[in-house]
Subunit: 314 residues, 2 copies
């Protein structure tokens, strides 16, 4: 139980994780809860019950602000994507109210970006969209109002985001984490490494993978070396786990290493575990000016910032 | 039942399929059986029973020659890889005898190739192996003894093979088919296309994928467009199936399109279904001199050729 100095309950509700923060009047985190009840786990659609459970015991009537996949078609209520460029005020002005018995609640909309892809031999230019839900709130929690930054939110679907003077200008998604997970669980490569999952991090094997991911442009070919390294007993099952991870992260990071954005300062918003991997990979691929920010703190700050901006405009 | 004009029973025993051919004294296929009892399905290790069942009714005592994953660590008996370069005579001279009650039997060994990978920043050059089992026999069935050919065996693990004067010089594997299967069955992309699996081939969507796979060097990024094309209702679930397939095959084919081998005649050894996809992708990526050979006929001819070469040397 808690005294009622709560100003906001912030909720980061993604595909696989649910995190709730009780935030005080000065933006400080007073309390936090987390669970594995991500959007993909709520099969009966009863999001309200799950929310009530996770914030149970916190003062009732406190406003609730949620971000992430909870605003997707598979979530509680679909909130449209807002096209780039988008700044914190844009996001704050389009929070979507949602009826709950837990208190007044809103969902932060995701954002989208669009590139014209010119296609020789096909029927003219095509529009290729990219989307995020949740990462925009982490970025709001971190972005400064001056200069240009390249922000990276590694994970299931890693985002590389160009932020200019506090505005999200454009971004690209890499399916690194999801491809890693499906290969580890369901492919012939995964079967070779079952005994190695959960073992101590093997930095040498990880970096070997990063170098291959960087130097071999054909990822579909590079991945097969996980199999041959096992066949010719060049790596233990534990080393293969980190070698595979290295190939995929090396492929992602090196794809961006050639861009004109490489000179911008870089901010990586990640968990401790992913921070370590991206530190090694970014350094191996030549990124120099890199800062690391904890993802959980970033999203809580972002929710608080959006809430304050909203309060200032009504 | 059959009269005993059989000279050889050829068996192509891969990870997911088992095919048996009764071959006459002039190399003609007299009869054939096929099943889904690939090596991965034989969990009790009783390969002999499965073989007896599939060739049951064919004259007993006929020599049996097998190729494919049946010679792998997960198969009946592990037969070592023979390093490249390797010609048909090399393969014929190292057939591995195996004891069965079905008749005298041998297994064709796979082949391996090795590249030195020079790694800046890591500990010197590393050896990267590549391997095949089964495709070498298809190639023996097709290869001519003059000139240089680039042979492609599309599938779960596609091989691009340089064949010079009948000798396999080197090759590269692409995990195209396996990545397609795991993404379709186990990823967020797959969930978007469940209603579309098995529908009519969508050539426009497939070619859009091929163009993206060719033009976007970062495959991990290109794949995410399968999701956004669904989100923004740019494609039906059926179209997404073929779009995903196009991205992966486009990525594979374009990786080889830049090589110095592009001027060589190309032979694709494939099923009817894969032939159609590779015809479209190879043409879109600029390959001109391409011939298509049925994979089943190729492997039967290869087994017969190896058997004749063996008979000639003993």
């Amino acid at each position: 139980m808690s005294t009622n100095n709560s100003a906001l309950i912030g909720v980061d509700w993604g595909t696989t994780r649910l995190r709730a923060f009780r935030i005080g009047v000065d933006g400080q985190i007073l309390d936090r809860h987390a669970s594995d009840l991500g959007v993909a786990e709520i099969r009966d659609g009863d999001f309200e019950r799950v929310l009530r459970d996770i914030i149970g015991g916190w003062p009732t009537g406190t406003p609730i602000l949620m971000c992430g996949m909870i605003g997707s078609r598979q979530g509680w209520q679909e909130v449209p994507y807002r096209p780039c460029p988008a700044c914190a005020s844009d996001l704050a002005s389009t929070l979507c109210p949602i009826g709950t018995s837990c208190g007044p609640a809103w969902i932060v909309g995701g954002i989208s970006t669009m590139h014209d892809q010119n296609v020789s031999g096909a029927r003219g230019a095509r529009k290729l969209y990219d989307v995020m839900r949740g990462e925009e709130t982490q970025i709001v929690g971190v972005a400064s109002h001056v200069g240009q930054t390249l922000m990276i939110t590694p994970g299931t679907h890693s985002k590389w985001v160009v932020v200019h003077a506090g505005t999200i200008e454009s971004f690209r998604t890499y399916m690194t984490g999801e491809i890693y997970a499906v290969l580890q669980k369901h492919s012939i490569l995964g079967r070779l490494m079952q005994d190695g999952i959960g073992r101590r991090f093997d930095e040498v094997a990880f970096l070997e993978g990063v170098h291959l991911g960087r130097e071999e442009p054909a990822l579909l070919h590079a991945l097969f070396s996980v199999r041959t390294q096992a066949l010719f007993e060049q790596k233990t099952p534990a080393a293969l786990v980190h070698y595979l991870s290295g190939i995929l992260i090396g492929s992602e990071v090196s794809a961006e290493a050639g861009s004109h954005l490489m000179g911008s300062p870089v901010v990586v918003i990640a968990s401790t575990e992913l921070t370590r991997l991206y530190q090694l990979a970014l350094s191996a691929c030549g990124f120099r000016d890199v800062r690391y920010v904890d993802a959980e703190g970033a999203v809580a700050r972002g929710l608080w910032k959006l809430w304050q901006l909203r309060a200032a405009t009504i």
